[in-house]
Symmetry: C2
Subunit: 318 residues, 2 copies
Amino acid sequence: MSSSVRIGVVGATGAVGPVTLALLAQRGWDDVRAFASARTSGTRVPFGSRELVVEEATPDVLGAGDLDLCFFSVGTGASRELVPHALAGGATSIDKSAAFRLSDGVPLVVPEVNGARAAEHEGIIANPNCSTIQLVCALQPLHQAAGLRRVRLATYQSASGAGALSMDRLRAQASEDGNVTMDWDFVGDESEEESKLRAETRKILELPELPFSATCVRVPVLVGHAQAVWIETEEPLSVADAHKILAAAPSVRLLDRPTPKDAVGGDDVLVGRIRKDSAHPSGLALFVVCDNLRKGAALNAIQIAELALAREPEAART
Amino acid sequence: MSSSVRIGVVGATGAVGPVTLALLAQRGWDDVRAFASARTSGTRVPFGSRELVVEEATPDVLGAGDLDLCFFSVGTGASRELVPHALAGGATSIDKSAAFRLSDGVPLVVPEVNGARAAEHEGIIANPNCSTIQLVCALQPLHQAAGLRRVRLATYQSASGAGALSMDRLRAQASEDGNVTMDWDFVGDESEEESKLRAETRKILELPELPFSATCVRVPVLVGHAQAVWIETEEPLSVADAHKILAAAPSVRLLDRPTPKDAVGGDDVLVGRIRKDSAHPSGLALFVVCDNLRKGAALNAIQIAELALAREPEAART
């Protein structure tokens, strides 16, 4: 019975929280509470056909022992502060921030790719960066078939990846004011987004030395991340075989030329433009698009939770 | 005397034509007529402090023998039809369409890169694709220093690259309707834009076999194209040396993280994010941005004309 699992959604008024609530309701979970910072606590958020009053996410409330499972879609700092309290209170925590992703003992999970790792958790399971999730969904089946030797990608990331305020800013601006930016913090010559994408991909694929270069770019699109990807493989891989492999891959849907608008509201990672890399004999190029708020965040986290609870989604609906 | 050169600007009411007129006026050319299709002929366009009445661009008018130099910023079909008439009438034609770019006997010129080729023309000099121009301005100095072995890039191309109507469409849409698309014609598994970019880069750099792969993407930005580029070189090239070389390159300006808005209205090709390609020991990554209507089109064409006329811009102002 889903009602036996007491769920908290922390960050319920951000970009990802409302999607998490909508998906939880759809999937039949019903013992759900919504939490956010003091700024929006007391407001109401939709949950299926009803509404939840948002509670303030304090260490005391999250650690009170009346939650079994907590989804965190808050900033890295807030996750660092709050997750330990939820844990202490007995709640398995699915954290969507970067706080714990690379920590030993914290599985970093995309269920289709390395779902078995979820069982190894010690209370926290980390949800990868939105960009990482869609990338590894496309790369893993190709890696299994031919061995990944090298990965390069340029991203087209939407405003929603930067949170609800960025979405509001995009909505408020004239379309002709749109720009292409790199609005992340930089360490040395790389943005944190680029470093994360490499480190997380290596951890999930269990290829700690994978040669990997990303240029991460924000574009004036509301929802949906795209990636222009080049890979080289150890074994030759024809375009036809790559098509076949990706057509059979879980959560992947092939489309000739996928765009963010094609992905929005859907659960699939869209892969298209699969072709020989005209710059390298053992290379392939592809274009990967996903709804960064769903499979890139909320949906993946819920799938992790369902794995961790060893429940099938169907069981949750009864 | 600039007044001795009788200039026609064909496509005066499109995206590039008005920029061409503005730059010609700025640079002291004054015997200038504006042409466009029947749809907009009869309208007026700004030219410096005065206005020109737009004349219809017909074969007869362009071939009448009273033009010395013609700038064409019209579609490939219109260029194919009209340029031969202008030529027959004695006008050297600087064509910005793809009609003649890869033809033998037609120099494809970026003055800073292969300006000497302009002298070889037989009446037509082609202006490269906007994406090609900014790319070769950044690549050529690196190639001279270390030898280009391989080029990959993903582009972020603005609406203005698709013409004035696309600009109007972008302006008219809500910012949240912005999408990332590949709105070019495709031949096989490549867009024509991608094939052009490779073929033109090879012709300009005189590297007919250069391994080269592009993924061309349109983003909801009004003006300014960006490119995430990876190169491999024959000789090792340090980041510090690449910085030095590009800082000294003509028309290149270094900026940490250039954006399209940084480039708009300026003449420079902005290059930033110069760093080791973390996926390859002899690779570099960089980010290249340019105002596609100026250096990417109108300015480059005027610079070609000035070369072809063996005039210095200063002479034109007297």
